[in-house]
């Protein structure tokens, strides 16, 4: 029974982590899929969202006002970056994109260190969302984490609506599968690109702002999430928002559950000390193994189009 409760708890934590990954991955996968553009600086936007949140929440004294300002600010940052750097790179080889966005990553993360220092910052949780609710038996779950899941699901639903039910979404889907066709339709493709970029930046910033009360805000947070996001996108299939959602939940749950239950399950087949060691080594590698397995089965990811 205790085991089942623990499992439920980890499942929820995994889902919450997965939702965050989805928010970051959604924008990135669209940029990859539609513009065939690789952006290493996307994780920095997540970090920037958290820092801006910390700054605005402190300045205004309100979580909600801070969140609103942080969203607007990351949107603006996305637009500026697109205008200043990214649009010069759309027609360049992947390698140039990798290097330019790598440079951007160095500039922005160092800039963050100069502005806010290297020490972690904290953001106060809003009154409304603190505390916890009963889950099953004696088990309780923090309201804030539930709120993160809800906010993420709402965003996913909004994206789904945007992509399947609006004209802009139709163009996005068409653009993801056939870029020349969309250009031939006379659509202002550069405006479309700009919007996708800005939206992606805002979603990443939103994810960063959301986690700021539960994680400490530090300069390394962007790098970690970026790699996980790549794994999500590769598993889901480049360009597929649906794939990003499935991949994000899969990665979030496998990673979270694996870290806790890996050693427990290993103990069933080997002695405790060895299991603990093996669990420690294997758990962080689990999602990469998952990715390798998915790719050797489907080289274009779960929902990717065959090339």
């Amino acid at each position: 029974m205790r085991m089942a409760n623990l499992f439920l708890l980890q499942l929820l934590n995994g889902a919450q982590f997965g939702i965050l990954l989805f928010l970051v991955a959604a924008g990135l996968t669209l940029v990859f899929g539609i513009m065939d553009f690789i952006n290493l600086a996307h994780g920095v936007l997540y970090m920037l969202g958290a820092y801006l949140m910390a700054m605005f929440a402190l300045a205004t004294g309100s979580f909600w006002l801070g969140l609103l300002l942080a969203l607007g600010a990351t949107l603006a940052v996305g637009l500026v970056l697109e205008w200043a750097v990214f649009r010069r790179l759309y027609d360049r080889p992947h390698l140039d994109q990798v290097l330019a966005t790598f440079a951007l990553l160095l500039i922005l993360s160092e800039g963050v260190k100069i502005l806010w220092g290297s020490a972690p910052l904290n953001v106060a949780m809003p009154e409304l969302l603190s505390g916890s609710v009963p889950l099953a038996g004696p088990l309780r779950y923090p309201v804030y984490r539930i709120a993160i899941i809800a906010a993420g699901l709402a965003t996913a639903l909004g994206l789904w609506w945007l992509i399947t039910r609006t004209r802009a979404g139709m163009l996005l889907r068409a653009g993801a599968s056939n870029r020349p066709m969309v250009a031939a339709l006379g659509v202002d493709i550069s405006r479309l690109f700009m919007l996708v970029f800005a939206l992606g930046a805002m979603l990443a910033g939103f994810a960063g702002a959301l986690v700021s009360p539960v994680l400490s805000v530090d300069p390394g947070m962007g790098d970690q999430i970026l790699i996980l996001t790549f794994v999500v996108i590769v598993i889901g299939g480049v360009g597929s928002v649906k794939g990003a959602f499935a991949g994000a939940l899969l990665v979030g749950i496998v990673d979270t559950v694996g870290r806790i239950f890996g050693p427990i399950w290993l103990k069933l087949v080997m002695d405790p000390a060895a299991a603990a060691q093996a669990g420690r080594v294997l758990a962080p590698m689990l999602i990469y193994l998952l990715m390798a397995a998915v790719l050797s089965w489907r080289p274009n990811g779960l929902f990717g189009r065959p090339s």
């Binding site: 990859f32 065939d36 690789i38 290493l40 750097v85 010069r88 790179l89 360049r92 992947h94 390698l95 140039d96 990798v98 290097l99 330019a100 790598f102 440079a103 951007l104 990553l105 160095l106 500039i107 993360s109 160092e110 800039g111 260190k113 100069i114 790098d223 790699i227 790549f230 794994v231 996108i233 590769v234 480049v238 060691q277 420690r280 080594v281 758990a283 962080p284 590698m285 990469y288 193994l289 990715m291 390798a292 790719l295 050797s296 080289p299 274009n300 990811g301 090339s307």
Partner: protein, 314 residues
């Protein structure tokens, strides 16, 4: 002899003059920096083989640097201090890792390949982070440098530098032969047109995989030397940003020329040392320079030099 080997040989000769120069002006740190440059030049050469000649944008190459470095720590822990044996161990481990990860990643193309090599690099990184016997996250320092023929010659910085330089010369010479041999021509062919290669009877996968393994092994040798230079081993050697730096070296020197890879490593390490001497926030300046080069001189510094010196077709 064409211009490229001349440039490479000139670079090697110039580097060989660093220790006497350092002695003359009384700044032994110059030799240390030159050693670091030579080590990264080997790593950059190895990456150039797959990236420059095979158009395989690997973003996980630092993993091999780390495998080489940990080979030193693991061997030393088990009483094996001989440099050559450690190099063989590092290259062997790298060959196995490259063969397995390459067999999976080389099934993919473009963005997928970049991301999957990145993920494999991270996998290696986390493996060593979780190795508590070797300090985990913090790494572990080495008791002493490796031995050569049972002697501790490498403790002398100048002797160590010349050993590294010799390795660099060997790596350059070997790769120069390789890219001009049958294998190299096939590899370049896969870069130029995979479809054409298939249509004249080749299966690109096996050549790419072979190049991937060779490249990993050479980079592991650089890792063995890096661990000896710093006398310290940590997962930070295989951080993904380190893989990015290796690509930056190629870009700055001009991708697809061996001399360019060496020059790029020299410039990058030099630039880092220089900027780090000015400010702890040197990455900001480094990023700005890099961004400017990518946006305005895609052919790297070599391209810039070529543009400034019309007529010289290196």
């Amino acid at each position: 002899m064409s211009a490229a080997p001349k440039a490479a040989i000139a670079l090697l000769v110039l580097m060989a003059l660093v220790p006497p120069l350092a002695a003359a002006i009384g700044d032994p740190f110059l030799t240390v920096i030159a050693t670091r440059m030579a080590v990264f030049a080997i790593a950059a050469l190895s990456l150039d083989l797959i990236l420059g000649y095979g158009a395989l944008v690997s973003f996980g190459h630092a993993a091999y640097l780390g495998l080489g470095a940990y080979a030193v720590a693991v061997c030393a822990r088990h009483g094996i201090t001989d440099l050559v044996v450690q190099m063989a161990a590092g290259a062997g481990a790298a060959a196995v890792f490259a063969a397995v990860s390459g067999a999976i990643s080389l099934r993919t193309r473009g963005i997928y390949f970049i991301m999957i090599t990145l993920a494999f690099g991270q996998m290696a990184y986390f493996f060593f982070v979780s190795l508590s016997a070797y300090g985990g996250d913090d790494g572990t320092s080495l008791a002493a440098r490796s031995t050569l023929l049972g002697r501790d010659w490498l403790e002398n910085d100048t002797a160590f530098f010349y050993v590294v330089l010799a390795c660099l010369a060997l790596a350059y010479g070997g790769l120069h032969r390789l890219v001009h041999a049958r294998f190299g021509r096939v590899l370049i062919g896969t870069r130029e047109s995979e479809l054409r290669m298939r249509a004249i009877g080749y299966r690109p996968f096996r050549y790419r995989l072979a190049a991937y393994v060779i490249s990993g092994m050479i980079c592991a040798v650089a890792g063995v030397l890096l661990a000896n230079q710093t006398e310290y081993v940590s997962p930070a050697y295989m951080a993904w940003t380190r893989s990015g730096e290796l690509i930056v070296m190629l870009l700055l020197g001009g991708i697809g020329t061996l001399a360019g890879a060496m020059a790029g490593a020299l410039v990058t390490v030099g630039l880092e040392e220089l900027l780090a001497g000015w400010s702890e926030h040197w990455r900001l300046g480094f990023g700005l320079i890099l961004l400017a080069v990518v946006l305005w001189s895609p052919a790297g510094l070599a391209g810039l030099v070529r543009r400034l010196l019309p007529g010289d077709r290196a």
